[in-house]
Symmetry: C2
Subunit: 589 residues, 2 copies
């Protein structure tokens, strides 16, 4: 079994140098949140992750959640970890102070969530969804709803879920059939939801389900969807969980991975109808859900990095310990073989790029919130909107490669379940699927984030990359050269795509995943360029940890060789002849 | 559960048009093996695969082989299928007629093995290894060994295994420690072997283990390895299995996939030593094992295609049936969405390229055997040697992408085990590992197959591609254009690599996997170019199935957009700065 250690040095390098988070904290009036305090918070989270969560990861895989007569029983030990986690105050990290939160920046919360996800992906889904529910209530809930429900989500005493999917409505929310009938100050909910993560368990004294449903007078399609808060237990006059609501987990899915996380079929209103409370306006449920989804999508992207990091660490440990083959007559550990080292370097460079982009996207959420003027706020919001599908899509896809390389590094042992890396491969495979598949992310990117504003937000991003390139006097030559090349290819691709643009939505949709991956490699390359520049500056100044910084520069160069050039070849996939694609007869597949 | 159908039309198009197998059969004096008979053999195999083997695939996954007091019990139903298979004469297909075989061409056997592997990968490993053992005995066994052991391997009455790996000797066979002591006309074998596929079971009345071991006077390293035939049961005076030999399966591995295939830890000689018979000369075991391994490596490449085909068919079925979303106000099946269709087209184009290359490589084995003169034989043998690591490496790596796309096409349902596609993803993941990892294949390719002959065999291949390009007057324009570009990139890459060449073995080893993938995409593109040309000729002549041929041309074009351009970006990975890679301190990973 591999151990897990949060890459603290790399994180501080990103926070303090590449992303300049302490400046952002000062801007937010959080003067006390200097680099020392950030390091201390991350260190404490890392300790809990390594010592408490990480050892439970395989338990959840081997002994999944199961159904009992009394609902779902989560894996043994998970509840205790969850109680410790809440006692330490982790769920309240970024919640607004007025609801009992600590009001810390989003980027710090994201770094901390990387740790929970690396340590135990299945377990970490419970606090992740709870945070999403909390954010949706903060943004859209009435004061009454907030006062009754928020504090105990913030404290983690209750957990939250998202209920979107139905058997005939997966990516297509327009097809939702769950009904909500008004009854006094509440509604009666009836319907079935599937793929509900942590839909039932015994770790918390209540579960707050946010459920999409239709009112009787709802218009058809996505404009007729409303969001309801539907608790597992109704609250008594003291605000404590009392009577059981009319809902239950009907069954659990048998999944390829994330066995520790119960994925429920939920049934609402089998008898008199489950009592629910409207969140936001009637028929505005989709907007409410998008608040959760945007945050959840970035969070799932982060999970990609997190499981990739865990898998990489397992591969690194194996490569350092496994003796196989000879070099110059000496038996060596396999880390000395060039191809094994290439795999490790590829994983390392990919993880660094993914982490920097995930943290950068998280910091943009903070920058938007803290913006001094409307124009700046709009610019940062547009950047967040652009980043979100890239972080979700590119990170989760690239994570598949990293976990697979980690298995490959183990050779035959990797395929044996006891080794542990197979779990990372199985767990990671859900990530490009849930919270909107890669295809859904890519359609969002090309349609809503690029074509809809005639590419303005994207051009602003490309201009920032240009500026970084122009200022990169200490970055490695190969990174600069390849980034310039990649940037030019992206501009060429986008121009050709926009040319067809609104007249040719088919081509944009056929090539959208390629475009998302291309922009991912470019943004990752931008992060590596900035890291290379920062490392170069520090080396010039004689500051910092020299071996770390030199390795960091080499890693950026390897990203430029091993990963960035893919942005070139993707051009052809993006611009593929969509009419030819659609011309292949259905029966000829 | 998805059904499985062998793509008969595509196979006949390859056999009769692209690869011109009937001509090869005539050359072999197999005049009766015309296109009708080929079609009939494939049809019969396809029927057995679809109707009998395919339905058992999931049973093996759910109810793996298990240990009993009396050895390993294979999954229920597998033995009956194996008996039917032998009764139909399938194991004897390519065995020499003098040992009871049918003497058919290798390429036909490979096509038939695609079917067994698509239908039930775990089960198909038993006949696959049996065929490998048979080939090794034919090539290296003494007349006495042949007369005692071959006939029942050919009939399938007994199965065979390969015993190479030991706990401290995986890719590094030089580290083998299993011992063989001479004793009269036989040897006593003592040692432990791991990862022995179908190492024990009850489907056959005997198991013929081919075991690598060291004689007492053996020189160190790979030059001191000998090969022994070590049967589960010793033969009595009538040549029938009698006394149990001193060997047993100690335990079974818990694997991520191929659960139906028992992967054994084998112990030889726990008491008096297992009786074994020398195959070939003393200390020449590696050469003997390479006979099996080269055939097995191509066979594993074929498994990549086979499981990719099965997964693709599942995705295609789901995409045709699953209704989701609207186009122009109509609810549609998801095959109408451009990104879903792109995924299907990418899988289809990849599978076509993989199949054509696997069959082409198989046909080269026949061409070498049937060559009229020494020069031609040497040329075909060199081509087989060049193809083998590409078929093993590229097909099994590309298969990972295809099975993953197949899961992605299913959305959330794909991650649920009952849907079936998760099994293909789990099963496929062993393929780039066993029979020599991707890294081992790539080292073999760059070292033994390219640098060792100063790139002559490779240049002959590139010249053949040039010739196809020059003659491709009916192939699609994009295929031709991109192939010309890819060919030029490969030539440039190889020239730069050879320049460093012997002075810089490090770079060749650091970039070897990239080179193998680059050549894979190029060879796959060559197959698509030839297919496009053949389809174009037939369309011009008004022959054949027009919708099939038009789709076939579109598919070649899509390969040129979606897959072939990767050969460009791989150039940078191949030529990456190996000294920089090796300069990253071990502790900086």
């Amino acid at each position: 079994m591999s151990e897990y250690t949060y890459p603290h040095n790399e994180a501080l390098f990103l926070f303090n140098r590449v992303l300049r988070i302490p400046e952002l904290c000062q801007q937010a009036g959080l003067d006390e949140l200097n680099d020392e305090l950030i390091s201390a918070v991350l260190g404490e989270a890392a300790r809990f992750g390594s010592e408490r969560l990480a050892p439970s990861n395989r338990d959840g895989d081997l002994n999944p959640a199961y159904m009992t007569d009394d609902g779902v029983q989560e894996p043994s030990g998970f509840a205790e970890l969850y109680r410790e986690f809440c006692d330490a105050g982790w769920p309240a990290l970024i919640a607004p102070t007025e609801f009992g939160g600590q009001g810390l920046p989003n980027v710090l919360s994201v770094a901390v969530h990387e740790i929970w996800n690396s340590a135990n992906l299945s377990w970490a889904l419970a606090p992740l969804l709870t945070q999403g529910a909390m954010e949706a209530l903060v943004a859209h809930g009435s004061d009454q709803l907030k006062s009754r429900w928020l504090a105990k989500l913030v404290s983690g005493e209750w957990t939250g879920t998202m209920n979107l999917t139905e058997p005939d409505a997966g990516s297509d929310l327009a097809a939702l059939r769950t009904r909500a009938e008004p009854e006094g100050d509440h509604y009666r909910i009836k319907g079935q939801k599937i793929f509900i993560t942590w839909g039932d368990h015994k770790m918390a004294s209540n579960i707050v389900h946010l459920v999409l449903a239709r009112l009787p007078d709802a218009p058809p399609g996505v404009k007729g969807i409303s969001m309801f808060l539907v608790p597992k237990y109704l609250l008594d006059e003291n605000g404590e969980p009392g009577e059981k609501n009319d809902l239950r987990a009907v069954s659990l899915e048998h999944k390829m991975g994330i066995h520790g996380s119960p994925t429920c079929v939920m049934s609402y209103g089998e008898t008199q109808g489950a009592i629910g409370y409207l969140v936001g306006e009637e028929h505005q449920g989709l907007a409410c859900m998008f608040t959760m989804m945007n945050s959840a999508r970035q969070a799932v992207g982060l999970q990609g990095l997190a499981v990739a990091e865990r898998a990489y660490q397992a591969a690194r440990q194996y490569a350092r310990e496994r003796v196989q083959g000879e070099i110059d007559g000496q038996r060596v550990t396999i880390i000395h073989h060039p191809d094994v080292r290439r795999m490790l370097a590829q994983m390392k460079a990919a993880n660094e790029a993914m982490r920097a982009l995930a943290y950068e996207a998280a910091a943009e959420v903070d920058r938007a919130r803290l913006a001094g003027d409307e124009q700046s706020r709009a610019a940062h919001e547009a950047r967040v909107a652009l980043y979100t599908p890239i972080v979700k899509g590119w990170l989760t896809e690239l994570a598949q490669e990293v976990v697979s390389l980690a298995m490959q590094t183990h050779g035959g042992m990797g395929y044996i379940e006891e080794t542990g890396v197979a779990q990372y491969v199985r767990d990671a495979r859900i990530l490009p699927i849930y919270e909107g598949t890669t295809g859904i992310q890519a359609l969002d990117l090309v349609g809503r984030k690029i074509l809809a504003d005639q590419g303005r937000a994207l051009e602003a991003l490309l201009a920032d990359i240009d500026a970084s390139l122009a200022a990169a006097d200490r970055a490695g030559e190969r990174v600069k050269q390849r980034m310039a090349q990649a940037l030019s290819t992206v501009r060429e691709t986008i121009a050709l795509l926009m040319e067809g643009g609104e007249n040719d939505p088919l081509s944009a949709r056929a090539g959208c995943v390629g475009l998302m991956m291309q922009l991912g490699y470019l943004c990752g390359g931008w992060m590596q360029l900035r890291a290379s520049q920062c490392a170069g500056e520090l080396l010039l100044q004689g500051e910092g940890d020299e071996p770390f910084l030199m390795a960091r520069q080499l890693s950026a160069e390897l990203y430029a060789d091993l990963l960035l050039p893919r942005s070139e070849s993707l051009k052809y996939a993006i611009l593929t002849n969509a009419s030819a694609l659609m011309a292949i007869g259905e029966e000829q597949f």
